[in-house]
């Protein structure tokens, strides 16, 4: 999306050079990419483990590094909102006066007079109603967070104008949409830096395009630093803390009368020894990095995780995201995205209103689904780690579910959000289980209902659900898919068209898969 344009590239490269950043032209070339905008390409054969970019953290644009950092701290603001407001000031109030400008001006919030906005601000957003972006991610709903953030930004702008005499950045604060565009531009580029800087914009690192399956690089940054000064290892805050403790202990001891006290003269022999020791003293050489005068721990890196032959584009991965999420966060979509899904939860909910099925759905929601997950975690060894992660996530969600039992229409409960068809047209494993459950005859259903909470002692009855789709289940699903299919609207945004097209293909594949299995 809001991708860097070629005209801004010299400024960005100059900025990196000014920061003594390491980005060797012998290894990488930035040029137009066939996937859109600019991309980074291998200038020669590159090997796994090579560092392509190393920048001091002082060259990362974060709220902490910004001109108004102290005002943000005074106002107790942090996180993405602080970063967005910092960006607004740096690029409007300070502009050329700020030394961030050569880089930040490359972060565009509009093109040819029209703002880059997330789908929920598109004039034709209603065309996306009922598709996965809407139903699974609520990607068309207004976000209260950003509206609230905008109000805070406005209030602070007035206060800072009055107290500090800084002009109000009307350029980006005169309406909500411009502020949203700033937040969107930042969210599409942001990197997690560390617990001092939190999130930040990293020049050059943000030029690597996303690859859905085989990224070549990863972003490296030491996260665990002092949250007060950003320094790795023993910073002055930790030193002072240790000293203070030491002194407290000493005070305890000193309550007794001074114990050891010498008298007379220091032994000349001791002085001689000390004199000879002096010579041996050596200072530890500091670890040398690729940035002059900066320790590697104080830098962020882009490192190759696999070899890339000369001439090929070098890709990063922004995460295993479906097209709807890519669109909502980054403004682009990928054809044949292996992480793409079509969401059937809403259609399923309608179906579950049927009295007979409603009983089974309730059971699934409260007992079956948690048990099924535990069973999977125990029985599917190969995905152990993955399942464990999922389980943790689900435990969190279970708690949430208790609270908002009644407003299912607003917030998709977690068990429902996994009711998806994957890029091959196949249902997710919990969806397969639920469909099988719904298709069970009464005898099997009663058998399942007798399961108690304890998976291990009652054996693997729940595993009955982990079978290929039964004939009945396939019918139910086919019915859902049919209902879900709709013509692809001709929406203005090209990335959204890719998303809708991809969703259509997934449903088609599902149809094909189900028909061929019937």
């Amino acid at each position: 999306m809001a991708s860097t344009i070629s005209e801004d590239l010299p400024g960005v490269l100059g900025f990196v050079e000014d920061c003594k950043g390491f980005f060797p032209g012998s290894k990488c070339l930035v040029k137009r990419s066939p996937v859109g905008g600019l991309g980074v390409f291998a200038q020669c054969d590159l090997n796994e483990g090579e560092t392509l970019l190393q920048l001091p953290k002082s060259a990362v644009f974060s709220a902490s590094n910004s001109s108004i950092s102290n005002l943000l701290v005074d106002s107790e603001l942090d996180g993405m909102l602080a970063l967005t407001i910092a960006f607004v000031y740096e690029t409007t109030v300070f502009q050329e006066r700020s030394h961030w400008w050569p880089y930040l001006k490359s972060v565009k919030i509009e093109e040819a007079g029209s703002l880059y906005l997330p789908p929920n601000y598109w004039p034709d957003r209603d065309m996306l109603k009922g598709f996965t972006l809407d139903t699974l991610y609520q990607g068309l709903d207004p976000e209260p967070d950003i509206q609230q953030g905008f109000q805070i930004a406005l209030e602070l702008a007035h206060r800072w104008n009055k107290e500090v005499g800084i002009p109000i950045p009307w350029k980006y604060l005169d309406n909500l949409e411009k502020f949203v565009a700033c937040a969107y531009a930042i969210s599409s580029r942001v990197f997690e830096i560390d617990n001092y800087h939190e999130s930040g914009l990293v020049p050059i690192a943000d030029l690597f395009n996303h690859h859905v399956s085989t990224p070549d690089v990863r972003f490296v940054s030491l996260y665990d630093v002092c949250s007060e000064c950003g320094e790795p290892g023993m910073c002055r805050h930790l030193v002072a803390e240790a000293l203070e403790e030491e002194q407290e202990q000493e005070q305890e001891r000193e309550k007794k009368p001074p114990s050891k006290s010498g008298d007379g003269l220091i032994d000349m022999q001791l002085i001689k020894e000390l004199e000879s020791q002096e010579e041996e003293e050596v200072t530890n050489p500091k670890e040398k990095g690729l940035v002059e005068g900066v320790q590697p721990d104080d830098c962020v890196d882009i490192v190759l995780t696999q070899s890339v032959p000369k001439g090929q584009e070098i890709f990063n991965s922004y995460g295993d995201y479906s097209n709807a999420l890519l669109l909502a966060r980054y403004g682009f979509c990928v054809e044949n995205n292996p992480w793409d899904v079509a969401y059937l939860g809403r259609d399923l909910l309608k179906l579950l209103k049927d009295k007979r099925l409603a009983l089974r759905a309730r059971w699934w929601k409260h007992l079956g689904y948690p048990l099924y997950n535990k069973w999977c975690a125990l029985n599917k060894e190969q995905d152990e780690q993955e399942e464990e992660d999922k389980e943790e996530e689900e435990e969190d969600h279970d708690e949430e579910e208790e609270d908002d039992e009644n407003d299912e229409e607003d917030d998709e409960p977690y068990w429902l959000t996994v009711m998806c068809i994957d890029c091959n047209g196949e249902p997710s494993s919990p969806m397969r289980a639920l469909l099988n459950l719904l298709a069970f005859n009464d005898r099997d259903w009663n058998k399942l209902r007798s399961i108690e909470q304890d998976v291990e002692s009652t054996g693997d009855k729940i595993g009955l659900l982990d079978k290929p789709l039964s004939k009945g289940a396939r019918k139910i699903l086919l019915n859902l898919v049919h209902k879900r299919k709709r013509p692809v609207p001709q929406i203005n945004n090209a990335a959204a068209r890719i998303m809708l097209e991809s969703e259509r293909k997934i449903l088609e594949k599902a149809e094909h898969y189900l028909n061929s299995n019937l």
Binding site: S64, S67, N70, S98, E163, G262
Partner: protein, 370 residues
């Protein structure tokens, strides 16, 4: 009543009942008492600076060191000067560690002060001006930097203030005195000032809970090279230009541009390793204010902030090196370096120079010569 005795170790400084003395010091008429052998061992490196050589005349303690210019360390140092009991001391006075400053300074938390606090800071700054003026008036060919330290120390404690540098991270003296190619943090010693030298006095003091910090570069005698005058006057003008720019809403990163522009126009360079800083409740705290161009230091000025601007301007290259005393910073090419510093207060509409010169202040600008 017995005299209160403190351990002579700069990293200890505790009150002690010990009578264990350094024999070398004693032979030279100095009483240095240590808690015990361990204290002596731990503090030996800094303590031995007090020891004379065999010939009992000033000597260079680092004969193997490759000095970059003509200046040399000239030892022995005089012992840590006495602070009367009734003077309020900062937390580093005994063992050298400014713990409260280290604990409380947060990079992006730039303190602003109340009217009451500013009153006290202003008072400290005025005293700083008085003290530096007295010391500057004593500058002449033939005086040693240690004698100037004695003046600064005396004038400071006379005003019931503590000389902030004393034992700050174990800095051994009460003032920093930087001659010719010394950029900053020169330690007063047996060095004798001579005609044509330039010398910077960096005076800081702690009074009623607040620090003041100022420095100024002075000419020694009348016969000054045109290079020296250009370097000193450029530094003086750099500070003046930067101060003009200070007002609420100014980002700190802009000061470096102004300073470096003027330095470059006068064929000088700007030191990068040392920065201006917040001052007040702490000797050094946020903000950090680099003096070189295109820096990206965070923060913007708001009324009630107190900080220093103190550009170090070099005749030659900007790069610095440090002597083995771990303090004295010198130019890498051995050419001259000059510096000026004020403590500044951001007001509602601009800035107030809290350490401003007055009509009677010694020193001041000289005409550049061709």
């Amino acid at each position: 009543m017995a005299e209160v005795v403190y351990c002579a170790g700069l990293q200890c400084g505790k009150r002690t009942d010990s009578t264990l003395k350094c024999p070398i010091c004693l032979k030279n008429g100095i009483t240095s008492v240590f808690c015990d052998d361990t204290c002596y061992k731990e503090n030996y490196k800094s303590h031995k600076a007090l020891h004379p050589n065999e010939k009992n005349e000033p000597y260079d303690p680092f004969p193997k060191f490759k000095y970059t210019g003509g200046m040399r360390a000239s030892y022995p140092l005089t012992p840590k000067r006495y602070i009367p009991e009734d003077i309020e001391k900062p937390d580093w006075s005994a063992n050298g560690m400014p713990i409260s400053e280290q604990r409380n300074d947060r990079l992006n938390k730039i303190p602003t002060y109340t009217k009451e606090e500013i009153k006290k800071i202003r008072k400290a700054c005025m005293m700083g001006r008085e003290i530096i003026d007295v010391a500057a008036a004593a500058i002449r060919p033939g005086i040693t930097t240690d004698e100037l330290d004695e003046i600064v120390h005396r004038e400071t404690i006379e005003r019931k203030a503590y000389p902030s540098p004393l034992n700050y991270y174990n800095y051994p003296k009460s003032v920093c005195i930087s001659v010719n190619e010394v950029i900053c943090h020169g330690i007063p010693d047996k060095t004798v000032l001579k005609e044509g030298d330039i010398v910077n006095l960096d005076v800081s003091l702690y009074y009623m809970g607040f620090h003041a910090d100022l420095n100024e570069t002075y000419y020694v005698g009348e016969n000054i090279s045109k290079e020296a005058i250009n370097t000193v006057e450029t530094a003086r003008e750099c500070l003046k230009n930067a101060i003009k720019h200070c007002k609420p809403g100014t980002p700190f990163q802009e000061l470096g541009d102004i300073i470096e522009k003027h330095a470059t126009e006068n064929k000088c360079s700007v030191v990068k390793s040392y920065c201006g800083h917040g001052v007040g409740r702490f000797f050094h705290c946020a903000p950090s204010i680099p003096h070189y161009a295109r820096n990206r230091t965070p923060g913007v000025m708001r009324p009630g902030m107190v900080f220093t601007v103190e550009p170090m301007i070099n005749e030659g290259v900007w790069r610095d090196a440090t002597w083995p005393d771990d303090w004295t910073s010198v130019t890498q090419d051995g050419k001259l370096s000059a510096q000026f510093e004020h403590t500044l207060l951001v007001t509602d509409n601009g800035v107030e120079i809290l350490t401003a010169r007055n009509k009677k202040s010694p020193g001041g600008p000289r005409q550049r010569t061709k």
